[in-house]
């Protein structure tokens, strides 16, 4: 699964893009975030406040209960501030 991080999520995790093998028991976005948090201090800090995180699966906005599959591109980012 490809995971992308933007803005302060990228800064805190120190990663902009990575390919990860997610455990089979992780089936939705909330489970993915919980699992990512166990991968180190930067992840724990970046992902601690789930209410501040927006998610896209394959470039479409998704909610925390959305299902994920191994071939997905999952992006994690803060609320948008363009325009």
């Amino acid at each position: 699964m490809k995971i992308l991080y933007f803005a302060w999520l990228r800064q805190r995790t120190g990663i902009d893009e990575e390919d990860v093998a997610v455990p089979a028991e992780v089936t939705d976005v909330a489970g993915l975030i919980d699992w990512l948090k166990t991968r180190g201090d930067g992840f724990e800090e970046a992902l601690q406040d789930v209410s501040a995180i927006r998610v896209a699966i394959n470039q479409e906005f998704a909610t925390l209960d959305a299902k994920i599959t191994p071939g997905d591109e999952v992006a994690l980012f803060p609320p948008m501030t363009g325009g």
Partner: protein
């Protein structure tokens, strides 16, 4: 319908001219240009960097543009959004809508800039004196501005 996501500046006059050239059904053109301000929360800002999600940005801008065409009878539209480092006074975004009549052009232009702010994956990082930068927080007022277009569907207003 057209979407451009680019680092370089744009020329609003040239963009509008090219968009409407040759289409004499157009009776009104509305445009919005967003600029970088030098103040935020009372603090002086030097410059900012706009980050975006290549691929999803173009897709979301095309989706909101298609939504505008569904709601209003538009003859042409254009969204140009810049990314990268920008300084106060620089142009960030251009929205242009063209229709036979002014109401559709003006309303759809307002709709597009409101929706773009909350739906297009861009993030602003303001430069700070310590060199770390400060990510701009999303504003509730932007959410409220986007939200009111959910309640108003001009296509159904007469029903």
């Amino acid at each position: 319908m057209a979407v451009k996501v680019q680092q370089e500046d744009f020329d609003p006059g040239a963009e509008i001219g090219a968009l409407t050239a040759g289409n004499h059904a157009i009776g009104g053109v509305a445009s919005f240009i967003g600029l970088v301000r030098d103040m935020a929360k009372g603090e002086q800002i030097g410059a900012m960097t706009l980050e975006h999600y290549p691929g999803m940005t173009e897709k979301m801008l095309a989706e909101i543009e298609a939504e505008a065409h569904k709601r209003w009878p538009l003859d042409a539209s254009l969204i140009v959004h810049r990314y990268g480092r920008l300084e106060p006074g620089d142009r960030i975004v251009l929205v242009v809508t063209a229709s036979a009549h002014r109401e559709a052009a003006l309303e759809s232009c307002h709709f597009l800039i409101d929706w773009l702010k909350t739906k297009a994956p861009f993030w602003k990082l303001e430069e700070t004196e310590d060199g770390n930068g400060s990510w701009v927080d999303a504003r509730d007022s932007d959410d409220a501005a986007a939200e009111r277009w959910k309640r108003t569907d001009p296509g159904k207003a007469a029903e």
